[in-house]
Amino acid sequence: MTRIGFSTGALALGNFEKALALLRGKNTSAIELSALRTPELPKLIAALPSLDLKEFSYVAVHAPSFFTPEQEGTVVRQLMEVPKEYPIILHPDAVHDFAKWSDLQAQLLLENMDRRKADGRSARELQGWFNRFPEARLCLDLAHAQHVDPTMTEASQIISTLGSRICQVHISELDSNSHHHPMSYSALRAFAEVAYSIVKDAAFIIESNLVESPDPSVQIDDELEKVRNLLSRTEWDCAPAWTDQSPACVH
């Protein structure tokens, strides 16, 4: 069964303890501990040994999305403290000096970027990054892929060319200003066109922003249910509604 969970940053900005508390008893099996801003990282690293994460069979850490060249060495040293079994999600455009990351690369999950970024958005651009980090794996962000190409053609190409590298999936809805939101019918419909082809052992991490939700508990349940429904769909379920015979591809 696919492991599903949340990013702590989607539930409580810069406060992973609060996010973990919100998830207690929610029957989630995956968690991404977010340190998107550099000041959050040392606190998270320090807390890691004492965090109660036993209900999660998949734990990942999200590295800061921005740091200066001067900060890069410190960020890498701090990330070296992350247990080896926890993948580290990294935005490729954040990197200044590839050499600094070489010892971490087997632990890295490079994430595909949204359309505001100049690199790391498409299968072709990501391949360039994997040439630099051949041992790294991929965190496929479905919302970013949809943002780059709403037809999901780029997502499909990422999955077909880099599918074996996918370790984790980010899922949420992104608006045209690149803000993450709870998933709508429209977003789920687009994701359904490719989700069935993602490797089954990839963990799904929800990034729908519920920080300002008046009732986060209910919305956590809603978002989890949406992803479970999405993952229960087969390729056949995702065929256009008018299809009245099995898709030709199964023959």
Binding site: R116, D149, P150, S176, N177, E193, C249
Partner: protein, 374 residues
């Protein structure tokens, strides 16, 4: 560096190694120097435009040129047909960006203004192009922009919006095509996108009707030149669109059949459409010259087609000939030697296109009869 077709990057370096037209010219031992001259001039113009508009479009907008620039056939009398294509959240500042680009182009005092219909030289939005296909809202301008965006367009500089919109349009055509990927009466998978094909055919007929409308509207002014363009460059555009639809069939493209999914077809169509119309035809001939049983027939057809087109471009790139045709009264066309020559070129082109699609020795024959007529 891998250069992709359809963006301004493509036409800058290594033109000769990139263009399928040049490759076909070599394979056939032909000499299409007017095509080469026009392609080189296109490079120069696109470079100048790139300098003029650099940094003005955003991740949500693209400067898109169509017409002769989009076909890499810029000649001395060419218009500059361009739009600022916006694909993003509503922002009133887009109009200011458009005006800034318009001023920069004007200030260069180099480019001829777009035609009087007002389809180009405008701010244009992705939503109607994607959502209004057919129906009351699909105006002549909307159809024109949409089809040209697919068939003969190049983005200058920032291309993200352009690429998204083109794929978005393709998604509309493919998702609503009920029989796509289903087995047809002969138990073959249908790869040819008929909704798209029908809209391309509709646009071709619209151009022919608008040709008559413009005679009516403009009192036959410019008849001779428009008549030649309709029969050659406009026809080429339709032929290349029809070919794009047939190219979806792995038997025509020679590319191993992908999983029959909409996203796979969008990817391959988008790639093929990123070539210019003439390049698409060249890819078809190059593919089938070598392995077709009818290699000689295709060789002769390609020589006739590209030779005629080369002659057409030479005419357009000769100012006195172009000017003469532009001003020639319709009542003189039957006796005018320059128009007679133009008509001979048009006839050769028409016959070659006819042979390419409708001669039973062509690999396209069956699909043309089966899907392209009724």
């Amino acid at each position: 560096m891998v250069l992709r077709p359809g963006s301004v990057q493509t036409v800058f370096p290594e033109l000769e190694t990139l263009s399928p037209v040049i490759q076909l010219e070599r394979d056939l031992g032909a000499d299409w120097r007017s095509l080469k001259t026009a392609a080189e001039e296109t490079q120069t113009v696109l470079f100048e435009l790139d300098q003029l508009v650099s940094g003005k479009a955003s991740a949500d907008s693209s400067v898109v040129v169509t017409g002769s620039l989009g076909r890499k056939e810029y000649t001395k009398g060419s218009d500059l047909d361009w739009i600022l294509l916006v694909d993003g959240a509503g922002d009133a500042r887009d109009q200011q960006t458009f005006l800034e680009i318009d001023r920069a182009i004007d200030a260069a005092e180099r480019f001829k203004k777009p035609g009087r219909e007002g389809t180009f030289g405008k701010l244009a939005f992705s939503q109607p192009m994607i959502h209004h296909i057919g129906g009351e809202e699909d105006s002549n301008s909307n159809t024109t922009r949409r089809i040209l965006l697919l068939l003969e367009a190049v983005s200058i500089g920032e291309s993200r919006a352009f690429e998204r919109v083109r794929k978005g349009i393709l998604l509309r055509y493919l998702q609503e095509d009920r029989g796509l990927f289903q087995r047809d009466h002969s138990n073959r998978i249908r790869w040819v996108p008929l909704f798209l094909l029908n809209d391309l055919a509709r646009y071709w007929r619209t151009m022919t009707v608008d040709f008559a409308y413009k005679q009516f509207d403009r009192g036959n002014k410019g008849y001779a030149l428009r008549s030649v363009k309709l029969g050659i460059s406009r026809k080429l555009m339709f032929a290349s669109g029809l070919l794009a639809c047939f190219w979806c069939d792995p038997e025509i493209s020679g590319i191993p059949a992908p999983q029959p999914r909409v996203q796979n077809l969008i990817a391959s169509l988008n790639e093929f459409l990123s070539w210019t119309p003439l390049e698409r035809l060249a890819l078809f001939f190059s593919k089938h010259l070598a392995d077709a049983r009818e290699g000689d027939f295709l060789r002769q057809t390609a020589l006739a087609l590209f030779g005629a087109y080369d002659g057409f471009i030479e005419m357009l790139n000769t100012p006195e000939v172009r000017d003469h045709l532009e001003k020639l009264p319709p009542e003189q066309v039957h006796t005018d030697p320059i128009f007679k020559n133009a008509r001979a070129i048009r006839s050769q082109f028409r016959q070659a296109v006819h042979d390419m699609f409708l001669d039973n020795r062509s690999p396209l024959y069956t699909l043309t009869i089966d899907k392209g007529v009724f």
